[in-house]
């Protein structure tokens, strides 16, 4: 029985990967603003999802787990990067490529949020999860989710006033 279960895992994970990876990449890219970095983070998150697939597949929203792992890895990565040595002008090349993909206040706005605010915004608004589910996934109280969302939305609103104007006129 165990062997049969193991045989089903690859197909199930493959379907999950193929159906969710592009959306996860866009969400992570929106949060980190660097395509190479986002690709690495998403690949790492899916690798961890594969390793823990039996646990991940049983979650309410497996995609949320993948995105959270990617974003949390990013936080750890930034902390470690302070101790790393840059490689001269190679950095510039990636920034140029990045600028062609991600630009403008709207795309930059999520990166001005705190890590927790980004998590809440990502789960509540980009993955369209309700407050209770978001609270369970993050392990915090629903009221805390609402508070973080309120603060995040206020920051985002200030960062993207022109887009608000367009929406209000609808």
């Amino acid at each position: 029985m165990r062997v049969r279960g193991m045989e089903q895992e690859p197909t199930e994970f493959a379907e999950f990967y193929e159906s969710t990876r592009e959306d996860c990449l866009r969400i992570v890219l929106l949060n980190v603003g660097d395509l190479h970095l986002a690709q690495d983070l998403v690949a790492e998150a899916y690798t961890r999802a594969w390793v823990s697939w039996r646990k991940v597949r049983a979650l309410e929203v497996p995609t949320a787990w993948v995105v959270r792992i990617a974003l949390n890895t990013h936080v750890s990565w930034w902390r470690r990067r302070r101790r790393e040595v840059a490689l001269g002008d190679h950095d510039t090349a990636t920034l140029v490529e990045q600028a062609t993909v991600v630009s403008g206040d709207l795309l930059a706005a999520p990166r001005r949020l705190t890590a927790r605010q980004r998590e809440v915004v990502t789960l509540r608004l980009l993955l369209d999860m309700d407050t209770e589910t978001t609270a369970r996934v993050l392990g915090i109280a629903p009221g805390t989710v609402s508070a973080h969302l309120h603060q995040a939305v206020a920051k985002l609103r200030a960062a993207i006033p022109s887009h608000y104007g367009q929406e209000i006129c609808k």
């Binding site: 690859p10 994970f13 493959a14 990967y17 193929e18 592009e22 996860c24 990449l25 866009r26 969400i27 890219l29 929106l30 980190v32 660097d34 395509l35 190479h36 970095l37 690709q39 690495d40 998403v42 690949a43 790492e44 899916y46 690798t47 961890r48 594969w50 390793v51 949390n72 890895t73 990013h74 750890s76 990565w77 470690r80 990067r81 101790r83 790393e84 040595v85 490689l87 001269g88 190679h90 950095d91 090349a93 990636t94 920034l95 993909v101 991600v102 709207l106 795309l107 999520p110 608004l125 980009l126 369209d128 939305v153 985002l156 609103r157 993207i160 887009h163 608000y164 929406e167 209000i168």
Partner: protein
């Protein structure tokens, strides 16, 4: 505008921003994810087994055992009890549509795995954890132009990872790639060195590319392709 309206507007704006990110793709194929995951599981098992054995001999011995199992506590300060947390895969390989092979390298652990992955992608390759040329290999003379036509290296912003792109189509007939990393920490060896080869000036076949996140120095070069050296 009340809170609910504001949330709706921000949601619409972010969704529009997300949807505007067209033409981007996860470049890691499923096979790479799965093979890296399998390697990770194997390492977990080895670490767990080593830790269990070492646990019977006391904490000091356990630390030594874990450190020697291929997952050092690390220069980044991670604790030995969580050697894999907050670390990206050591490397990933993704074959591009145009035939180029993109390697994202954090550190050059499991060189044999990288070598077999590259060979499976059609790249005659010899990968080792040192920059000493494999005794079964013979260095292939390389010019600056040849190097530039085959290799392209970038350092990812924020990640510290090195992205190395190999263009197999630019490899001369009978040549293969050689990748190694040394722990000598010499980061200033950024240039090619001219050496004599009969009447023709050629360049040393190994070139420093980047300092990896584990402070080893990644070097690439060319070797004569052979069954023993590059697998084909």
């Amino acid at each position: 505008m009340n809170d609910s309206d504001t949330v709706d507007v921000v949601r619409d704006s972010l969704t529009a921003a997300k949807e505007s990110l067209v033409g981007i793709h996860v470049d890691a194929p499923l096979d790479t994810i799965v093979s890296n995951g399998r390697a990770r599981r194997r390492r977990h098992r080895v670490t767990g087994l080593t830790g269990a054995v070492a646990g019977t001999a006391g904490m000091a011995l356990a630390v030594t055992a874990l450190a020697s199992s291929g997952h050092p506590a690390g220069q980044s300060g991670h604790s030995v009890s969580h050697p894999l947390t907050a670390r990206l895969a050591a490397w990933t390989v993704a074959k591009q549509v145009n035939g180029d092979v993109k390697i994202t390298i954090r550190e050059l652990s499991d060189p044999a795995g990288l070598q077999s992955t590259l060979r499976a992608d059609g790249v005659p390759a010899n990968v080792s954890s040192s920059t000493q040329i494999d005794p079964s290999c013979q260095a292939y003379p390389m010019t600056q132009a040849l190097f530039a036509s085959i290799y392209d290296a970038q350092k990812g912003v924020g990640s510290g990872n090195t992205v190395l792109v190999i263009r197999p189509s630019a490899l001369p007939g009978g040549a293969g790639v050689q990748i190694g990393a040394s722990a000598d920490g010499r980061a200033g060896d950024g240039g090619l060195h001219q050496v004599a080869n009969g009447n023709q000036a050629v360049h040393q076949s190994v070139h420093h590319v980047a300092t990896l996140t584990d402070n080893t120095v990644l070097r690439v070069g060319l070797v004569y392709a052979s069954q023993q050296c590059t697998g084909s």
